[in-house]
Each structure stands twice: as structure tokens, then as C-alpha cells.
């Protein structure tokens, strides 16, 4: 991807992540006294589910661009760069699939 595309992707994903996180964390901390059924119902609510899938995708894109920029800045050795890119890709891909799986299983 070209520099300008990742620059734009980083900023739009940031806005989505920021809005979602502020809502999520305030609900989590101040919303209610959480019980297992209430928690499950909130996370698996259809609107929340769609928003969460969006969050996972935005997070994957955002984390990839951010980690990639850091590697490009500090690692100059090409081979080492490729190894670290692969590791980051595997961790992010794995986390993304795992999180989607968790949401799917919870939704039944």
C-alpha cells in the first residue's frame, strides 16, 4: 500500500476505534452492575455485534500500519524487517480470527 493510503487508513480507523472505545469503556465501568447474562446479552446484541466486527477490522488495520511504521523507522536490516513483519502479521491475523470466533461462538 502507498504511503497516502495507509496515512488515511490510520486516521479513519483511529476515529472509529476512539468512538467505539469511549462508548465501550464508559459502559463497562459506569453502565451497570455486570452479571453473566447481562454481559452476554450486551456483547451479543445484533448492533453491538456489527459494531464489534467493525472494531476488530479497524483495529487490525490500525495496528498493522502502526507497527509497520515503527519497524520501518527502527529496523534497517531487510531480512530482519521481513521476519518481524511476518510475526506481526501472524499475531494480528491470529488475534483477529480468534476474536471473531469468540464473538461467533457467543452469539450461538
Amino acid at each position: 500500500m502507498h504511503g497516502l493510503h495507509t496515512w488515511i487508513l490510520q486516521r479513519f480507523s483511529a476515529i472509529y476505534l476512539g468512538v467505539f472505545l469511549v462508548y465501550f469503556v464508559t459502559q463497562l465501568l459506569l453502565g451497570q452492575q455486570w452479571t453473566a447474562p447481562a454481559w452476554h446479552a450486551w456483547i451479543t446484541h445484533p448492533v453491538m455485534r456489527i459494531a464489534s466486527v467493525g472494531f476488530i477490522l479497524a483495529l487490525l488495520a490500525h495496528a498493522w500500519v502502526g507497527m509497520r511504521d515503527i519497524v520501518l523507522d527502527y529496523i534497517t536490516h531487510l531480512g530482519l524487517r521481513l521476519v518481524i513483519f511476518t510475526l506481526i502479521g501472524l499475531v494480528l491475523g491470529g488475534c483477529g480470527l480468534w476474536a471473531l470466533h469468540v464473538l461467533m461462538v457467543a452469539a450461538g
Binding site: 472505545l21 453473566a36 495496528a63 536490516h77
Partner: protein, 126 residues
């Protein structure tokens, strides 16, 4: 690709000045890396908490363990700093607060507010 450095390299950290904006910036990167590293733990916690009442109880128990609580302070700081510094960078992108005095003030604001919110979190979990 041969890496030829012509720019001077000067890495005596005690002789490099770190203005507030530089701290905001490097901490933005550092907190981003911390958040990346915390992903597996957070997903595991979510997984556990959604596995019926027993899993939910187990997740709560997990959260009360000392190491996890210490880790949550790192995550809380990372989240707060990353979010606030991110909003500052987005504002600077749209040319809001670009002048040096404003940028310095906002950098101090971000650094200090993130630290204060982290302290509030420490107070909350103690």
C-alpha cells in the same frame, strides 16, 4: 540494500532535549506497542467471560489476581495516552493547534491527563 548513513548519529540520551511534544510522540508509539502486546490477554479474557456464568466468574477472579491488576495499570495508561495523543495528532492534522505554544500546551495536557487518569484507575482497583 547498503545502508549508508550520512546524517550525524548522536545518541547520548542525556544530551538530547526532550520537549513535551517529543514525550507525547514517543509515548504514543510505546503505548501502541503495549496495546498490541495486550491483545491476546484481552481476547482470552473476553472468551472466558462469555462462557456462561462459570466462565464469567472465572474471568472476574482472573481480574482480581495481582499480576493482572498490575498489567491493567499498564493497559490503562496505554489506552488513555494513546487515545488522547491520537486525538491531538488528528487535530494537528486538520491544522488545529499547530502553533508551537498551543502544540506545547496540548502536549503537556495529554501527558499529564493520561498520567492522572492512570492514577484514577489505580485508585479504582485498589
Amino acid at each position: 540494500m547498503p545502508s549508508q548513513r550520512t546524517a550525524p548519529v548522536y545518541l547520548n540520551l542525556f544530551r538530547i532535549r526532550f520537549p513535551a511534544g517529543a514525550i507525547t510522540s514517543i509515548a504514543h508509539r510505546l503505548s501502541g506497542v503495549f496495546l498490541f502486546l495486550s491483545l491476546p490477554f484481552l481476547i482470552h479474557l473476553l472468551d472466558l467471560s462469555l462462557q456462561g456464568p462459570a466462565g464469567f466468574e472465572q474471568a472476574i477472579e482472573w481480574l482480581q489476581c495481582g499480576w493482572i491488576r498490575a498489567g491493567s495499570v499498564v493497559i490503562a495508561w496505554s489506552l488513555m495516552h494513546h487515545l488522547l495523543a491520537g486525538i491531538r495528532f488528528l487535530l494537528i492534522d486538520i491544522e488545529a493547534g499547530v502553533t508551537l505554544p498551543t502544540a506545547r500546551t496540548s502536549a503537556w495536557f495529554v501527558n499529564i491527563t493520561a498520567a492522572l487518569l492512570t492514577l484514577a484507575w489505580v485508585g479504582w482497583i485498589l
